[in-house]
Amino acid sequence: MTSFKKFADACKNIEKITSSLEMTDQVADLLAKVDTDELPVVTHFIMGQIFPSWSSQELGIGESLLYTALSKASGLSVDDIENIVRDTGDIGETALRALSKLSSNQVTFSSFVEEPIPQLTILEVSDRLKRIANVSGKGSQNQKVKNLQYLFNASSPEEARYLSRLAVEELRIGVGEGIVRDAMSKAFNVPVEKLERSFMLTNDLGAVAVAAHQGGEEEVSKLDIQVNRPVRMMLAQVTPSIETAFNEMGNAAIEWKFDGARVQIHKDKDEVNIFSRKLENVTNSLPDIVESVKNQLNADTAIIDGEAVAIDEDGRPRAFQDILRRFRRKYDVLSTSKEIPIILNMFDLIYLDGESYIDLPLKYRRETLGNIVENTKSIKVDKQVLTSDVEEANRVYNNALSAGHEGIMIKNPESPYSPGKRGKNWLKKKPMMETLDLVVIGGEWGYGRRANLIGSYAIACYDRDRGQYLPIGKVATGITDEKLEELTSLFSDLIVSEKGRKIEFKPEIVFEIGFEEIQKSTNYESGYALRFPRLVNVRDDKSPEESDTIERIENIYLKQRSRNHNKSS
């Protein structure tokens, strides 16, 4: 049994470290120390998560609920708590201060029983948090508050610092998937690539940790895809031109790149589940697709990769927003499905009748997919052209564009399906200049006419190793007043703290940002800045972890430099 104090102590140590290597060592020590049944909990906790990535379960502890629980546990008023939040700008510090103050504190029965008070354990914290996630219906708010209150009462102020951050699922100690994976490798002596692969297949680092602990490399390799648990989607790199792509690939499989939303379809006998790019379960909003899949997919169990496209009367793709309207729909699902019909284009097969297909070559996966789907108007396996002729690829590209789609995908026909990888086996060609998807982490209230609006937004890229967002600039252009109002209300729920005009947001919303150039900069933590950043779109379909990484920024920067170099010479 590991106490929560041990976990909190480890967090405190790690928080002070800046070197990734040292951090990895510390996490490895922690993972090696805990019991097997605690391992999945600790693996997720240390990244500030409660549930594995494949799960669509949410904790659902908002600011007000947390403040109420802290108020009840400390005896301070909710106003007092809010003042401390404004002061410290951090919920962890707030919990620490509030519980150190303890005015007129509510005590529990633990003070009146003879036996020594048992220390709060990691499993108990996990158990209570899961309980909070599961209560629903009348009086559920009250139950949530009381469970949190209990945890705060049972913990020391130091423990409460990390407990409160866990409660909002943001531990902020700089440990992300990358470090946990490397730490696991060190603690259990399993190669990083094996761990990474199993993680991409299962989306459950906790399960990977348990396997690594119990049976090392062999057990980790046994972890495989499961129907109804989303697999990370394979991603594509941008290619500057079709010619470059063919130079690298020789023979290529060309597909249209649809202007729609990526979906992963899981069929398990009569049950169909659909996951979005963020791996959220969107099945309930897409009854038409579910029905078509049931009728036209000849497989017992299958996982299929595809793109859902909203179409207008002429069969042309509609605006991206329309498809998101379908994805988010909870009520009137049927009428919206008539208003915005969706067609499903399938292009890859990940799993079929108990067998994983990811290691088989694309051309074979594709052929099999064609054999199990009965094409109709609403769902079909999309056309694919196998060619080594650049001209033919160009023709497909122009056709796709004139049909209103984004461009083409150029794929290596011999390549495996690499979950979660943005490799060289899938390339995409789009006419537009490149944009970056960046997370909004802060903002500033405007001046004058815009005083009640958040007028500027601080944007950041993702550091996957650390699970951190690195500031890269601010964006204030490309936004109409109307849009500003919309954004202000969107962000008002995400405010973590305010200091003067400056606001800090919970990183959740992803902006698609257009820019002229990436420059080196000492102004921002990422070490880069954007020249002429402008807001192109709000990427509702992307989670913050899917925003562009610091590695990608570096890559674009280097490419840009070599391009400029060529021009001048």
């Binding site: 007129s104 005590v107 029965f109 009146f112 139950q143 009381k146």
Partner: protein, 245 residues
Amino acid sequence: MFRATIDAYLLRDSVEILSVLVDEIRLRTSSDGISVKAVDPANVAMVTFNLDSSAFDDFEADESEIGLDLTKISDILGVADKNDKVSMELNENSQNMSINIGSFSYTLSLLDPSTIRSEPKIPQLELPAEIILNGTDLRRAVKAAEKISDHMLLGVNDDVFYMEAEGDTDKVRLDLARDQLIDLKPDDVRSLFSLDYLSDIVKPASKSNEVVLEIGQDFPIKINFEIANGTGKVGYLLAPRIESE
């Protein structure tokens, strides 16, 4: 086995007494009757509840433990008139309970008792002062306090039982001398309690003519009363707030 028939109002009162603190209970049954021990999720308030078999029109039970969702039961009881009878029977194989109210018949799925928080250890407390008073007097004092503060002091000084609440600007105090009480065993004590809990607890207690309070110095309070003409016993225990100056 468990088979029982009871007045709807009595069952409703019993559910209310328990749902003040918890949503789910482990109901213990035996040939003598039913009993529940529960603690609220924050570990601040406890309840012990006993209802003798004689409170039922018809009662037959073995020693057993049943997991119940109180919210569901109170929803079901929504259809019942005050004078209706409710009859319940456990179907042990299918893990559910049949509940009949008038012409309505429900099948209520049961919870696995092991998923419900286990019964609390009831701390053994020596509380020096004891006050017996009318439940409505207690409720009135709590209601007055709610208007002013979120906590309230209960104490005894000489031969007077007092309840006092102090907000940021205002203050309210109710003094009840020995002759205004049913009985008093005095001692110089006082303890502070959260109205969050006290308000909820005194609601069911206010229906009783005789509520027994036991108070100590910065100690939990015991609030005991009877229901169903003495065939049912309810005991709440509420942990205090400790004033730190």
